[in-house]
Structures are given as structure tokens and as C-alpha cells.
């Protein structure tokens, strides 16, 4: 396996003394060349810190972080030639036009005046900004900014592209625009490291996903593997009468041979993991009928990444209180 990014036992603490807060607490991460790797975790999990050390902005407090070449901390310029970083906020000059921004970054990357202008034109075309390239960035929508930001990262084709929460704060349309733009990159053999809080985003874009919590990796695998780790398929039952929810939960739990079924009173939903899909479905229908519980909807479905995430971290958002037990979903093992 050829690794484009290799992180071993990476540590970084911000602040000193009592205020010291470990942002990274022994992170391991391996990203294969030419893949999109999702790094998923709540705020404070260490995603951004890891990206910044790899790019390389601050020095690591310990361990190894290599992206684009050995020993990034010692030879940051060598690394900087090969990567591009897109931070959480579109890092653009608001006063300049889209085209002027791309030309500025092209010149800084030493494409020369004519080269930078030509490249700016190509990129505006490629990211659907040709018509708005002359407008100041100030006037751009969130999605347009992000696309321009992406284009700015590609002024010289990087070997590794770091996307740090590329769709945070975008509306659904902007998000779709950015997703399409990211997808268009992966065909070209670029390695992409993508951090996100959005499970759907990792699900949509990433070949493999590492789940971070408390500055460590707590799980890794493909989206399917992570979902399977939660317990495979589930049966969902929506009952007509909310008063029957608890009764339905015990019936469905029994029928699905699950230790317990979860309920969501707001949606009048009962959900339980199943092993044998069709048998469990038939059994559930029969058992509900026998118990006289009226169901509005019964469906089999794969677990969502949300459930996997909740299962792994025990929460959906917020920083870690205590380190979660390390679990590694099946797939390629870390070491």
C-alpha cells in the first residue's frame, strides 16, 4: 500500500500548565494515494489540529506526521510544494475579484503573470465561475466562495489536497455544488483528506473514514464497514397510536431477536437491529398483528452513519469528557 499521508502517535497540546489541553492524544492515520479519506468527529476532536500540523502550520508536540514527504516539520517548504490546504473559512481576498484572487495565488506559486492568468481562466471555467470571475468575492454566495477557494487550492495541481470542513455553513445547494467539485477532483489521482462533522458528507465523498474523538482515532473503515459495526440492518416500525409505542417496542424487540428496540416518541418510531432480514420482517409483521398494534409503516433499512457515529462516540456533538474506548471497525487495521 502506498501511503500519501502517514500519521503515527501524533500529539499536540495547546496552552501550558493548568490550561493545557491536549488537542491530539496519540493520533494514527494512514491515507492511501489517490483516495478520498474522511476524518469525522465532533468539535474539539482534533480534526483541524491534525490538518494544520500536516500542512504544516504548527509543529507537532510529539509523534510523526508525514504528508507529501518525509519529516514535514523539518522541511516544510518541500511539503508545501505538494499540497494545498482549504481551511474552514474561504481564505480569499474579499476585495479582489475571483479572477484576481486566482492570479494572486498563481503568482505566489510562481506561475508568472501570463501563466497565472491562463490558469485562473481554466479554473474559473472548470468550477463554473467564468461568468462571475470579474466580481469581487464580497459579492459571492457561500457556495461560490467555496468553489473559488477550491480553485485557489488547485492553482498548481497539488498531490494532496486538505479540505477542512469544506461545507460548514453552506446551504444545501452550496453543499451540493462543493460536493460535485470535490468529486471532479478524485478522478485525477489527487489524494484528498477531508475533515467533516457531517456524516452524510463523509458517506458521499470518502473512500475510507476515520472517526476521531478526544484527539484519537476511535474507529476506521469504509462507510459500509462503520455502519455494519453498529449491527447491520434495522427494522423500523411507525405505529399509528403513540400510546402503543412501548408495547410495540417489546414486540418488535422480541420478533427481531434484538435485546432491545429503541423508540423515538416524536416520530412514533420503533427501531431494532436485525440479523436475518426477511425472516425478521415477516416475524415483526405477524407479531404486531397478533398483539393488535396498528402499524403505519414497516421498513428494513441499513443503519445511517449517524447511528454508527452515535454508537462509537456515545454522542453526536461536543468535545470528549473522557476518552472513549478504542474500537476499530473491521477493515484494514491501523498498524
Amino acid at each position: 500500500m502506498e501511503a500519501a499521508i502517514l500519521v503515527e502517535d501524533l500529539r499536540k497540546t495547546f496552552g501550558r500548565g493548568k490550561a493545557a489541553k491536549p488537542a491530539l492524544d496519540g493520533l494514527d492515520l494512514t491515507v492511501r494515494r489517490g483516495t478520498v479519506h474522511g476524518v469525522l468527529g465532533p468539535n474539539g476532536a482534533g480534526k483541524t489540529t491534525a490538518v494544520r500540523i500536516l500542512t504544516p502550520l504548527p509543529r507537532p508536540g510529539g509523534g510523526r506526521a508525514e504528508g507529501g514527504g518525509p519529516d514535514g516539520a523539518a522541511r516544510p517548504d518541500e511539503v508545501r510544494r505538494r499540497i494545498a490546504l482549504l481551511g474552514q473559512h474561504a481564505a480569499l481576498d474579499e476585495e479582489l475579484s475571483g479572477r484576481q484572487n486566482l492570479e494572486l495565488f498563481g503568482r505566489l506559486r510562481r506561475l508568472g503573470g501570463a501563466g497565472a492568468a491562463r490558469r485562473a481562466g481554466e479554473l474559473l471555467e472548470r468550477f463554473g465561475l467564468a461568468d462571475t470571475g470579474h466580481k469581487p468575492v464580497r459579492a459571492y454566495s457561500g457556495g461560490m466562495r467555496r468553489r473559488l477557494d477550491l480553485a485557489a487550492g488547485l492553482v498548481t495541481e497539488p498531490e494532496i489536497l486538505f479540505l477542512d470542513e469544506p461545507t460548514t455553513g453552506l446551504d444545501p445547494r452550496g453543499r451540493t455544488e462543493v460536493w460535485n467539485a470535490v468529486r471532479s477532483l478524485t478522478g485525477a489521482g489527487t489524494t484528498v483528506l477531508l475533515t467533516t462533522q457531517y456524516l452524510e458528507e463523509a458517506d458521499q465523498l470518502a473512500d475510507r473514514i476515520s472517526v476521531l474523538d478526544g484527539g484519537r482515532r476511535i474507529a476506521e473503515g469504509t462507510a459500509d464497514e462503520l455502519k455494519s459495526a453498529v449491527g447491520g440492518d434495522r427494522v423500523d416500525v411507525v405505529v399509528r397510536d403513540a400510546a402503543q409505542l412501548d408495547a410495540a417496542a417489546s414486540v418488535v424487540g422480541m420478533a427481531a431477536h434484538a435485546s432491545r428496540a429503541t423508540t423515538d416518541p416524536d416520530r412514533r418510531l420503533v427501531s431494532a437491529p436485525v440479523t436475518d432480514r426477511m425472516a425478521a420482517l415477516a416475524e415483526t409483521v405477524r407479531a404486531l398483528d397478533a398483539a393488535g398494534i396498528d402499524a403505519e409503516d414497516i421498513a428494513l433499512r441499513r443503519p445511517t452513519l449517524d447511528e454508527a457515529y452515535l454508537h462509537l462516540t456515545g454522542r453526536t456533538t461536543g468535545p470528549a469528557e473522557s476518552p472513549a474506548p478504542a474500537k476499530t471497525a473491521e477493515g484494514e487495521s491501523a498498524a
Partner: protein
């Protein structure tokens, strides 16, 4: 396991690692280009920046000037203009700080930092741009001074030396602005600095004689780097200055050279160091 990126699209034709000054220069020169584009986009903002010190000059010359008497009976306008020139250079610190904190805040500086360009290039580029802006501002102020009756009475060489001293002061204040921006980071912090520059500016000989202030304040005012420059250029332009026999007054030209150089010797290494460690 430890395989790394080995395809080198961009490194093939370029030396790796260290940067020479020649290497940094194209990147540094890109910054003034960016600044010109800003000026072109926001001509109004640029014009207001130029007009502000002119307005101050007019206010002090006409609103307050009537009540001011210069020792030895000199013309207050002749006295005031060099002081305002020095003040304009010192206040340039704010403009530098505003621009840089905005770049930090928007992540533009991080993007620059993540590029393979010499560490010094961005800051040197910033200082180049601001120096060009200062030259324009200085020319406008000289023109405004001329219009309200200020003249220089020395030789052309002395006038050139005076302008050189003003730009030297500006260069030192510019690096103070860079350092403050890198330390404070947030654009809101500029406001505090904008307020604090006023007492520093007035605790000088720009508007009045330090002799008229309480003793300790007068002493501070005499040793203020801005006073040194103002005193020195009054001498070089042949404009009236305050008397006084302190060492600082007698050696204002030497001080006007020494002060900015000392400030630069301290500020530049601190700023470059701070820039390198911005995100640690």
C-alpha cells in the same frame, strides 16, 4: 509503509528547501500588486485615508493655530507642518495593522503560509506596499502644507534628507504595526491601538513645545521617537522649532536616525519570529 509522495511536478525544476532573497522577491512583489488592486477597487477608502491627515492639518492650522505662539515669533503653520508629517508617518501603523489583522482573520495569511514561499516574503511585501502608500500620503501632505503656506528654506539635499527621515520613521512604525497585528490577530483590537496612538502622538513636540508640559511629560515628549523626527525635519527644512537645550533637542537629527533603527532592530526579528509561530 513509509512511502511518500515522490512525483514532483513542481519540484523538478526548482531548488528545494532554503530560499534566497532573490527567491523571495517575486512573491514579495506580488503583495504591492495586490494592494494596488485594492486601491483600484476601493478608491473612496484610499482617498479618505489620504484626506484624514490633511483634515487634521487644516484643523490644527486654522482652528487652533491662531491661539498658538511659536517661540521667537515664528509662523505656527511653518512649525506645524513638519509635526503633522511626522504624525502622519507614525499613524501609518494603524493602516498596516488593519490590513494584516484582516488577512489573519480571513485565513488569507494561513493560505500564504501554507504556500512554498519564503517566510519573509509576505511581511516584506506588506512593508513594500505600505511604504509605497506612505510615499503617496507624504506627497499629498507636502502639497497640502504648501497650500496653507508652509515652505522649506534649506537646500534640496536637506529636504531630501528630511523626507528620508520621515520614511524611515514610517518604516519602523510599519513593523510595529505588523508585530501588533500578529500578536493581537483580531481586527477589533485595532480600535484599542487607534485610541492609544493619540496620547502617544500628542506627548510629543508635534503640536506644541514639551517645555509647556509638566516636567516628566515634557521629558517623555522630548524623547518620543516622533519628536526626534519632527525636530530633525524642522531643522532640515529650515522651519522654526522649539528652543530648549536638552541633549534630545540638540541632537534631534542623530536621534531621528537612531530611534527608527533601534526600533527596527527589535521589531523585525520579533515580527518574523511571531509570524513563523503564528499557529503554534
Amino acid at each position: 509503509m513509509t512511502a511518500h509522495a515522490t512525483t514532483t511536478r513542481s519540484t523538478a525544476t526548482r531548488p528545494t528547501a532554503t530560499h534566497s532573497m532573490a527567491d523571495a522577491l517575486p512573491a514579495a512583489l506580488t503583495m504591492p500588486r495586490r494592494g494596488f488592486a485594492h486601491w483600484a477597487r476601493r478608491p473612496g477608502q484610499f482617498a479618505v485615508g489620504l484626506a484624514f491627515p490633511v483634515m487634521m492639518l487644516v484643523m490644527f492650522a486654522y482652528f487652533l493655530g491662531g491661539g498658538m505662539a511659536v517661540e521667537g515669533g515664528g509662523d505656527y503653520t511653518e512649525f506645524l507642518v513638519p509635526g503633522m508629517l511626522a504624525l502622519t508617518m507614525a499613524f501609518g501603523l494603524e493602516a498596516t495593522m488593519i490590513e494584516l489583522t484582516q488577512d489573519i482573520n480571513r485565513g488569507v495569511l494561513d493560505r500564504f503560509r501554507s504556500m512554498p514561499i519564503a517566510r519573509s516574503a509576505i511581511l516584506v511585501g506588506r512593508s513594500l506596499l505600505d511604504m509605497l502608500g506612505s510615499v503617496v500620503s507624504l506627497l499629498v501632505m507636502l502639497g497640502a502644507g504648501w497650500a496653507i503656506g508652509w515652505r522649506w528654506h534649506g537646500t534640496a539635499a536637506e529636504a531630501a534628507a528630511a523626507i528620508g527621515l520621515l520614511l524611515l520613521l514610517r518604516f519602523a512604525m510599519l513593523w510595529a504595526g505588523i508585530l501588533l497585528a500578529l500578536v493581537a490577530r483580531r481586527p477589533e483590537s485595532v480600535q484599542a491601538v487607534q485610541i492609544l496612538v493619540w496620547p502617544v502622538a500628542f506627548l510629543s513636540n508635534a503640536f506644541t513645545s514639551p517645555d509647556t508640559m509638566p516636567d516628566w511629560m515634557g521629558a517623555v515628549a522630548e524623547w518620543n521617537p516622533m519628536s526626534a523626527t519632527a525636530g530633525a525635519i524642522r531643522e532640515l527644512f529650515g522651519n522654526p522649532g522649539w528652543g530648549g537645550d536638552s541633549w534630545a533637542v540638540e541632537h534631534s537629527v542623530a536621534l531621528a536616525v537612531a530611534w527608527p533603527l533601534v526600533l527596527l532592530a527589535v521589531l523585525v526579528p520579533l515580527a518574523v519570529r511571531r509570524y513563523a509561530r503564528l499557529s503554534d
